[in-house]
């Protein structure tokens, strides 16, 4: 059927079902949206540079607050993580592709179109202004009569669908497609983090899906789920949102923890300290992550017993998290630490995440939270977790796996410049926000008064943001330089421990010519390092020629899933259905068109040779 589709050029990218290419598409889109989110942040920091500034209007600022949060979480971090899942999961478990290659393509295109739909609000001039959490009933037709909230609801709905599809795909892939010998407790720790993340995703996303449908029907058909005037409850929205929203935090942080747990052992030349305990910790964090959502809602008046319960459950999460931090230190203890850019980012993850975790313990205690909630202290806290934590950890992953993705090395010199600009800029921006929070400065304020004593730390914070932006530019230069003149990457540039390093860089389309077989965690490492036979002291020595994956003489002899146009068409159909909400009169016709496209695409998809 689709075998006539070209293997190179634009069409090949539109129709690809290769997990590595989809991973690259995810990463490219994530950084595209990062530009949006980053510029939004810089504009906000400029508005807050000094009190009483009129650089941005209230309307624009509230729009930027909303879009910055939504973009960074749904359109930058989640797809960037999905890029790593796509690229790495099959390679690390020794599989040829993911379980459902066309669904994989579908989830990417659905994500991309959802992100574009959300950002179309800028072109339409109706930017959502309700915050990334969109608390009811500010989102109701009465308080937001225009379509801005609809862009948010439907954009998130479509993007969420993408994550739901991919989470099922990756879950099945990890459960079913591991190579011979890789039992669950022999999986790389990053795969463990991925597995738990997929479970969190497909358990939590349906909740936000339903909540978004409720609010869409509230707005479009007047159902009143969240309208206190007709017996609805505004607090209900917060429960639904955070039952999704809190696991979402772990969805963002667990993969970064997984990456750091791969990077630190490699650059310490030691195995991960306490692998089984790390696995239990990841699972415990994932499990407890579902029992703490209401700590975002202490000030809504939950009642004493609920407050006490959610407070203690939240504190409990600190235990497995603390274990992980000490285990990372234990991994480095006694090792030979190489300060490559990737490792610098990974180590900074451990430090920044610790600070974010400790401030998190403070507002796990409701009386303290009554002060810190909705002040800049919380802004500082979650940026230390999600930016100093997740983003820095993932940048470690970017520097570590870039050679495997593209077959080129990123410049270490530029990388270290980026790292230090990020570290200095990040801490300058967000550490002073702790002080602003203690001074009672509220979040999401488009301006502030000069009689509050908030000038000093706001100036420092804004300057820090500009320094970070320079770091971002250095990264852009680094990537362009790598493609233009970067050093060719060998198969195993870092002396890695997991299966992907036994492949050429970049890996061939079919991944493994010979099905790999493993007998322990970090099997590839122990294929490179064997015990010195004579002594029996357990001392390891590098073997002469590690068993890299061989080339295949005739790649066409290996069966690969065919390229397909249907995923992108189906994604378009879904997006058209979602956009029907914007047409009050002709909405049914638009929805009908979308449903028709979806049906045709599903039909074509079903009868296509995979």
């Amino acid at each position: 059927m689709a075998t006539y589709l070209p293997k190179t050029g634009v069409i090949s990218w539109l129709t690809t079902v290769d997990h590595k290419r989809i991973g690259i598409l995810y990463a490219a889109s994530a950084f595209f949206f990062l530009a949006f989110g980053g510029i939004e942040a810089l504009l906000m920091r400029t508005q807050l540079l000094l009190p009483n500034m009129t650089f941005l209007s209230a309307e624009v600022y509230n729009g930027l607050v909303t879009m910055h949060g939504t973009t960074m979480i749904f359109l930058f971090l989640m797809p960037l993580i999905a890029a790593f899942f796509n690229f790495l999961i099959p390679l690390m478990i020794g599989a040829a592709d993911v379980a459902y290659p066309r669904m994989n393509a579908l989830s990417f295109w659905v994500f991309l179109f959802g992100g574009l739909l959300l950002n179309y609000s800028f072109i339409a001039g109706q930017v959502p202004q309700v915050g990334w959490f969109a608390y009811a009933n500010l989102t109701s037709k009465v308080f937001t009569p225009d379509h801005s909230v609809d862009f948010w609801i439907l954009g998130i709905q479509v993007v969420g669908l993408a994550s739901l599809i991919s989470s099922i795909n990756f879950f099945v892939t990890i459960v079913n497609m591991r190579c011979k010998g890789m039992s669950l407790l022999k999986m790389p720790i990053f795969i463990w983090a991925s597995l738990v993340t997929q479970i969190l995703l497909f358990l939590s996303l349906p909740v936000i899906t339903v909540a978004l449908i409720m609010i869409a029907t509230d707005r479009t058909f007047g159902t009143g789920f969240f309208d206190p005037g007709v017996g609805g409850s505004v607090v209900m929205w917060q429960h639904l949102f955070w039952i999704f929203g809190h696991p979402e935090v772990y969805i963002l942080i667990l993969p970064a923890m997984g990456m750091v747990s791969e990077i630190i052992p490699v650059f310490s030349r030691k195995p991960l300290f306490g692998y089984p305990v790390m696995v239990y910790s990841v699972s415990a964090i994932g499990f407890l992550g579902f029992a703490v959502w209401a700590h975002h809602m202490f000030t809504t008046g939950l009642g004493a017993w609920a407050t006490a319960f959610f407070s203690f459950a939240t504190m409990l999460i600190a235990v497995p998290t603390g274990v992980k931090i000490f285990n990372w230190i234990g991994t480095m203890w006694g090792g030979q630490i190489r300060f490559t850019t990737a490792n610098l980012f990974a180590i900074s993850f451990v430090c920044m995440f610790t600070i974010g975790g400790l401030s998190g313990i403070m507002h796990a205690s409701p009386p303290i939270d009554y002060h810190q909630h909705d002040t800049y202290f919380v802004v500082a806290h979650f940026h230390y977790v999600l930016y100093g934590g997740a983003v820095m950890g993932i940048f470690g992953g970017v520097y570590y796996w870039f050679p495997k993705f593209f077959g080129r090395m990123l410049s270490e010199c530029l990388g270290k410049w980026q790292f230090w600009l990020y570290m200095i800029g990040f801490n300058m921006t967000f550490f002073p926000m702790h002080f602003l929070g203690l001074q009672g400065m509220p979040r999401r304020n488009f301006t502030y008064a000069p009689d509050q004593g908030w000038e000093l730390w706001n100036v420092v914070s804004s300057l820090g943001a500009y320094i970070t932006a320079m770091g971002g530019l250095v990264f852009l230069v680094n990537v362009i330089y790598a493609f233009w003149k970067g050093k060719r990457a060998p198969a195993d540039p870092w002396d890695g421990r997991t299966l992907e390093w036994s492949l050429t860089s970049p890996p061939p389309e079919y991944n493994f010519a010979v099905a790999p077989e493993v007998s322990q965690v970090d099997d590839w490492w122990y294929k490179k390092y064997k015990p010195v036979s004579s002594s029996g002291s357990g001392q390891l020595e590098k073997v002469e020629d590690p068993p890299y994956q061989p080339d295949v003489e005739d790649p066409s002899s290996i069966h690969l899933p065919n390229q397909s146009f249907w995923p992108i068409v189906l994604a378009m159909g879904i997006t058209v259905i979602a956009s029907a909400f914007f047409f009050p009169v002709s909405g049914l016709y638009v929805a009908g068109t979308g449903i028709l496209i979806t049906l045709i695409a599903s039909y074509g998809w079903s009868y296509e040779t995979p």
Binding site: L50, P51, A58, E59, N62, G131, L138, F143, G229, G232, S233, V234, K270, P271, F273, T299, T300, G301, A304, A308, S311, V319, I325, F326, N327, I329, M332, W333, G335, Q336, I337, C351, T354, L358, S359, I361, M362, A364, S365, P367, I368, D369, Y370, H371, Q372, H373, D374, T375, L438, Q439, G440, R443, Y448, A449, P450, D451, G453, E455, L456, Q539
Partner: protein
């Protein structure tokens, strides 16, 4: 635009003196506030201890175990240590229990205080209602309604019932304790003793700043208020004088009184026909406006100039404000400002 900015201008102070901030969160001067500070201080200590317990080994490791040259023999391949792992599981649990116990004590103490009032305990009952973007305070036992300036007697148990007219707001006076949300369709309760008068209290009392803390729409940033703690006698005077009719003294104020008829559908001044309308008023009560320190929900000083500018174009002052720009001549604005400003000033 009438204003170049949203708040009164003041010289910039790049001072790190945090405790001078009107919203500084690390002092509690009520019983509830002090309880919170107790938990806060203990938790800060524990968290600081853990911070150094992570920092010191990390710095040591990074320095001591850095790679020295290429092609070193492999370091010892340690895979874990059960004793150590149990130690750094158990110690955090102990530390967390040390935080959790006083946390719970504080939560249930506030809960007991609220329940005691519900069972008929004595307290000054105040209803707090959030509006986009200002605050209403109702003294239910005295039939007194005021806005944006919460007047409290010193050393008195206060029972707040907090709710909202439109969207979610959050009621927060940092020096008195934490914040609690004002939620439409829900009433949140809060009970504490108002603080005593301070040594350097002004004739009007002690002023404490508060602010809305939950994103509530366009002008969320412009939704402040002030709490004033007065002596018990001064508080009784405030209550007694609040609903007396305004004292219209000059010709200007008389003309302004007529102009104010246009304001009646949203604003009330006690003792005038505006108080007799049986409708829900969506604008702040102005009965004692002349006594208030600020206008525009705590955003600007209550001066004639600010008031005139506000009436001239409320939307420049507060984006999205429900108060429209009225078609008034400069003279009418002058008159009505004089009426609102001078006639409502009670003799306290």
């Amino acid at each position: 635009m009438v204003f170049a900015s949203y708040f009164d201008d003041a010289p910039l102070k790049f001072s790190p003196g945090m405790e001078q901030s009107p919203m500084y969160t690390l002092v509690g001067i009520t019983d509830w506030g002090r309880d919170i500070m107790h938990v806060y201080g203990l938790t800060t200590l524990i968290v600081t201890f853990v911070f150094f317990a992570v920092l010191i080994p990390t710095v040591y490791v990074l320095f001591k175990f850095r790679a020295r040259g290429e092609d070193q023999p492999l370091p010892e391949q340690v895979k874990g240590n059960h004793v150590l792992e149990i130690v750094w599981t158990v110690i955090p649990v102990i530390l967390l229990i040390m935080i959790a116990v006083p946390t719970w004590q504080s939560i249930f103490k506030q809960d007991r205080a609220v329940k005691a009032i519900e069972r008929g305990g004595q307290a000054l009952k105040i209803e707090v209602i959030g509006y986009q973007w200002w605050w209403e305070f109702k003294y239910v036992d005295y039939d007194v309604v005021t806005a944006n300036e919460l007047v409290l007697p010193e050393n008195t148990p206060i029972a707040f019932s907090i709710t909202s007219y439109d969207v979610i707001h959050s009621f927060y006076i940092p020096r008195f304790g934490g914040k609690i949300d004002a939620i439409p369709g829900k009433i949140n309760k809060l009970v504490y003793y108002s603080p005593p008068l301070s040594d350097n209290a002004s004739a009007m009392g002690d002023y404490y700043q508060g602010q809305c803390m939950e994103l509530c729409g366009l002008s969320h940033a412009l939704m402040r208020f002030e709490a004033v703690v007065k002596s018990k006698e001064a508080f009784q005077k405030f209550i007694a004088s609040h609903n007396t009719p305004p004292q219209v003294k000059t010709e200007k104020e008389k003309r302004g009184e007529v102009v104010f008829n246009q304001c009646m559908s949203c604003h009330t001044i006690a003792g005038t026909p505006s108080a007799d309308l049986e409708i829900v008023k969506i604008g702040p009560d102005l009965s004692n406006f002349g006594n208030r320190r600020t206008l525009g929900a705590g955003t600007r000083k209550n001066t004639m100039e600010n008031l005139r500018n506000w009436i001239r174009n409320p939307l420049a002052f507060k984006p999205g404000s429900l108060m429209p720009k009225f078609d008034l001549t400069d003279e009418q604005i002058e008159d009505v400002s004089a009426y609102i400003q001078y006639s409502t000033a009670k003799d306290l």
